[in-house]
Amino acid sequence: MEIKLIQILFVSTALFFIGVFGFLTRRNTITMLMAVELILNSVNINFVAFNKYLYAGSLDGVFFTLFLIAITAAEAAVAIAIIINIYRSHKSIDIEDADELKW
């Protein structure tokens, strides 16, 4: 049995919606950040799978994956800096406690 593209896309779609589920249920900012990481990883799997199965011979999916990994690292670092700052001023990182901007 040969593995087709659709099976890899099944895995990445399922991982994306696992991340969406976690993002909607969690109220702790660090665990929400972890759910976002899962979502971004599923996108990376998609790029690599499309490069392998549909455009074999070109390298564009590889480059998109590499740049996405770099951007994800920057995003995680900034998010954690913000979380630590929220913890310092609110003594909590629950998303419901930081509601000053909520109208």
Binding site: I18, G19, T25, K52, I71, A77
Partner: protein, 180 residues
């Protein structure tokens, strides 16, 4: 079933199981460890697809960088041994519904698209080719995004320091008293 397909199914099951555990686990430290295993499984999937360089980058950046950063911030912001609070029943129901419907919608769309991939192996993807094309100035070169990403990383580094630096704020004490 060939051994390659078997390995794929094991990797897929491992990724989905650890991903699901990492978003449902009540103890936050274990959730971070499950996320680490999920990233390792995704790196294994890249190895399975013969993209060794991407797999190595995945291990170095995600497993060695981001998950360790998350664990550090857990240590900075949590009392060890306290569980996360349980999400309310209503929120879990609606999130499950949203995830299931979204998954069904996306997967039906993907099936309808009928992507008939050929799936032949790439001709020896080497790091030399990646480096040459990334830094080439020709039509398919990626030198401009490379430079932009380096600027972005610099900006993110400075931004992190500016955000997380400790500034003496006289009004923050009053704010805390008001909170407690």
């Amino acid at each position: 079933m060939s051994i390659k397909a078997f390995i794929f199914f094991i990797l897929a099951g491992f990724i989905l199981l650890t991903g699901l555990l990492s978003v449902t686990e009540k103890r936050i430290f274990r959730a971070a460890i499950y996320l680490l295993f999920c990233m390792m499984g995704i790196a294994g999937l890249y190895f399975w697809m013969d993209f060794d360089f991407i797999a190595a980058v995945q291990v170095v950046v995600y497993v060695g960088g981001i998950v360790v950063l998350i664990i550090f911030s857990i240590f900075l912001t949590h009392q060890i041994g306290t569980d996360l609070e349980e999400p309310t029943r209503r929120r879990v129901n609606f999130a499950t519904l949203a995830a299931l419907f979204g998954f069904a919608f996306c997967f039906v769309t993907i099936r309808e698209a009928n992507l008939a991939g050929i799936g032949n192996n790439i001709t020896e993807l080497s790091v030399r080719d990646i480096g040459r094309q990334m830094l080439s100035l020709n039509e398919h070169g990626y030198i401009l995004p490379f430079e932009v990403v380096s600027l972005l990383l610099l900006a993110a580094m400075i931004g992190c320091i500016v955000i997380a630096i400790k500034t003496p704020m006289p009004e923050s004490g009053a704010n805390q008293n008001l909170k407690t």
